[in-house]
Symmetry: D2
Subunit: 345 residues, 4 copies
């Protein structure tokens, strides 16, 4: 950590800071510049609030951290990519992975139709919500365990592993008994109780970035899961909130290469929730492949017009098939190069 002293800080103020740094177990390394004296506090700064406290001391202008606050999620800790295996599917490896399905499980008929469609299109996994986080208490909240059972049936029929959302620590055991990957939704990205709980689960976790979450905070949320014992975490960019109102959220496409550099964890993109309108999902999905994501989370619904949740952003099966062809062509061009850049060292 670097402590920058004020221009007019006097010797006594400087000495007080140095004494404090040493008293909490760091070495102080003083560097006198022309306009400022700065002090390097040498030691492991993570998780320590003591040093930060000097920010309000007389003579101190600011305190600047040097290290990223996450360890286990960092590429410094693990250079090669984490590849997550779910059945026959490998996420984070050379193959681009598509996870598709409806926003919510509405009925057995709807899910089966969707499941067979996404399988036909070439998707590797099936998504569908049984427990739905909805902004309004008056909206459809999901089928609950009944939905989980339908998902498990769809897996049986299609062979596709299943991803579904967990909203509460007390539901994890139940959901784990049906699903293959536990999804943490954007609104729970800093629900630390839930993060710790899925950190003790046996199944991989798909962690969605919140609308307001910086990449550093996302990695800190992943760190909660990793530090609790579960090293199978997939990160998902799904759009952030900005001043722009002509689309639902702003897909932060740059998050993909920036995350790939910072972390060994796989990164997927959810364009459906980001943009909220199916016709814009198509170009964004292609951009996600081109930018180097490891996979996509896409909403496909056999009858979007009658969907109970997020119909406007769901693709009809035939549009999904066409998209999958283009995705494959772009992946061929870019995946090899990205594997070299981010690949096993």
């Amino acid at each position: 950590m670097i402590i920058v002293m004020k221009k007019k800080a006097d010797e006594r103020e400087l000495e007080n800071v140095i004494k404090w740094i040493e008293s909490v177990g760091y070495q102080a390394h003083v560097s006198k510049g022309i306009e400022r004296t700065i002090i390097g506090a040498i030691g492991d700064e993570r998780g320590k609030v003591f040093l930060k406290a000097v920010e309000t001391w007389p003579g101190v202008e600011k305190v600047m951290p040097i290290l990223q606050p996450y360890k286990l999620a960092s590429r410094e800790t693990k250079e090669g990519n984490t590849i997550i295996t779910v059945g026959d599917v490998k996420i984070g490896g050379p193959k681009f992975v598509v996870i598709a399905g409806p926003c919510a499980v509405e009925s057995s008929a709807q899910l089966m139709e969707a499941a067979f469609a996404v399988k036909k299109g070439g998707a590797s996994m099936l998504r569908g919500g049984a427990f739905k986080p909805r902004t309004s208490p008056y909206s459809f909240q999901g089928l609950g365990e009944e939905g989980l059972k339908i998902l498990a049936q769809a897996r049986e029929k299609t062979g596709l592993p299943v991803v579904t959302e967990v909203m509460s620590a007390s539901d994890i055991e139940l959901i784990e008994s049906y699903a293959d990957v536990l999804q943490i939704g954007a609104r729970n990205v800093q629900n630390f109780t839930l993060l710790k709980a899925v950190g003790q689960a046996k199944k991989p976790v798909l962690l969605k970035r919140g609308m307001m979450t910086t990449l550093e905070e996302l990695l800190m949320s992943a760190e909660y899961i990793l530090a609790s014992g579960n090293d199978q975490v997939i990160l998902c960019e799904r759009g952030i909130r900005t001043f722009e109102t002509s689309m639902r959220n702003t897909l932060d496409i740059s998050a993909v290469p920036v995350l790939k550099e910072k972390t060994h964890l796989p990164v997927v993109v959810d364009p459906s929730h980001a943009i909220g309108q199916w016709k814009f999902v198509l170009p964004l999905a292609k951009a996600a492949v081109a930018v180097g994501a490891d996979g996509l989370l896409i909403e496909v619904h056999p009858d979007p017009q009658n969907a109970l949740s997020d119909g406007p952003q769901s693709l009809k099966p035939e549009r999904f098939y066409q998209l999958m062809d283009e995705i494959e062509s772009i992946a061929k061009i870019v995946r090899k190069e990205y594997a070299e850049i981010y690949g096993a060292h």
Copy 2:
């Protein structure tokens, strides 16, 4: 709900939309303008996703909701102010209320000293965290039940009711047995499982706005609690996330009068978390009184330099005393007028 048709929408497209509107139980009211035809769908639009679905239909340009999506939290439902009574304290009434104390309960000695200091300064309630949501898994996570016991002792000694944070539905029963007001933190503002659970609690809830929660979403989160049966909700503005980096968060001071117009629930302000530096907490606290908030949540610590959490933003007792004097003077000037504007009708 208003459906705006595209300029070139043809008669068949218009008729399809009208038929759909009527088929889901609304009346369609068509209005042909010079450049656009618009259709009013008359009926209660809340919680219904069906109408929204036409957004992607041929010929439809956009769908605009007319009603706010919340009911119970709205001033239309209840004109007079909700006044929340906690012991002798009334929040939302004519008196300006200050809730003060340290960020985290660290020890019995620390909390007792803080509690007596805030009481001496004139605070009405004591705050302090026993369960702490921290961005980093390596930071101090709170004393847990031990912290709750210390809070309860402080209440016994000072007579001040106690506000403390709830992070998990499974902790509510425990926390209710010690605390007087249950706080929902900013990061849990859309943890719907938790909102429903405190909606079934007996104690009032202090609901903090998230860093990127719109006022409408905040009111929808309050609606979750109200709809679950708990009508004792206090809203708290605590700074939002913006592009500006010279302060921790941007205190959205305008949220106070805008909320007071939209809802009957009391609104308090937490300048300490918003700005993150004690010297700026002082002017912001005065601004919060002047703008018409019903109260303040302020961090006071007997020894900020050694605080385990958020030391830089905590006031020393003597600064708190002086602030309380100024708050009282400003409250005298403005409270009466605000009571007339927002008061019982």
Copy 3:
């Protein structure tokens, strides 16, 4: 325009609004719902503030505009794509166009080397700043007319048309005498004096979106140029400002398809300014092709390490060559489809 009355608005308030609407030349179309009465004001609402004024009248809850505020820039006014011809180059047509070069013209040697490099890589146009908008008055402000002369020489040697920035209306005549396309920088996107002035110029305008500009505002700024008589406008997405600090700006990749739907003007992307680091420019450039942009604006510098401006985001020539190959491969996959979606009708 739609005027939504308050739930408790009485008949007299409703009549006052209707009378006003009619008095300013519109027809009022009343629609009584269960909870609200809404009034459609039929007529051309653009540029009229009179109707907006009723927003503060007794009984009025809100006023909602129906039409977009721009006309000439809208696809409703012109369905086919605007194709802008600069020498042999066509922007907005089937071919993907790359405009490349250094941030600033620093010397004849530097620009010539850059110009030959970007030509070798297959760029269609040369970019380079002679007048530089810099946040700090102490930073390099550009070579001015000397820089323009160097740009003109480079065009002569390479045959590449030249794009350069205009910062002031009084410089337009001078810059037009040297350059082929006039660039308006992000910070001048709402410098209306300058927009009107380039609207009277003879050369095409490349209009960059501001860091804070909504797509609607960007189209309004284009409208200023179009309405002043210049119909040759290229829009450029270059990153917006958000809460995320791990990159310079957030490239709003979704802006491309959303703009392509709203307007007939060509849309290009500048990933270099958006992300600020050359290694991330590579994946973002590929994403821009995949998402359907008409072209790219990319910084290439023969010696980024010694660049006087924006070195860290500039590509070395050899990296640019490799990128151009990948861009071409992706363009082959996606351009034809986008031409069908957005193409001439």
Copy 4:
């Protein structure tokens, strides 16, 4: 400037950076920590891009500036407050100053009525736009020189000095011949050509913060004016753009104390443009006094309903009178303390 090396940077990479630092005229001060080596580059870093260039070098993780990039605007350069004298009015001194008037000059009758009203209420200066920056080319663009003449007449009749906006460098001479203070609007805050031009003017400048300008950038824009020779600059907070849509802009009230600490220049607040609705202007104006602003810019219109620009946010005279009383009462409580904190040293 601090250069942080990567964990795995080797000796050769470190030496390359050190050599470079020394070659561009700085001293390198190396500090080896447990996980990172950091290098302090000692020297005046302002306006130098050379050091920044090492950001992309092998082995370098990041480059962190230590000094603020502005000098003349900094309290380090000038400790006492800058007090700006306009006629009898002093801005930045002990007295709180109110600048009021209509958004646009519409006619002699309208402006005279407004001018006498604001004088009656106790305002110290008159505001009114003759050249209006409007998002739409179809909106009322102001009366131009005719408007300036009307403003000058109002000054003659009321004795109030006049503030009006400058949109173009070529208008400065004309406007200076009529007005007392030159206003730079939010959209021109980084129009560097204009900033340099008003830097050479003789009249004080009221510089509005842009909707997405950081405080550091605002101070850099002030620095442009100061560095061009005009040391009479008043800063104005007028709301920033955020994700929140229930108000026009988010008034960044914290900007006031943060700016007062960083700079010696006076800081005023414009609540009218921030919030956009007159009823919310009242509480925000009071908050601005309480937080320590030096003054207010408020829109007052004799007939807001028929205003050609920004009617909904304008106060009627009688509401303005009442507000002025409350402002005075709050100013009495807080001004003295703020004068002590920020006052002459």
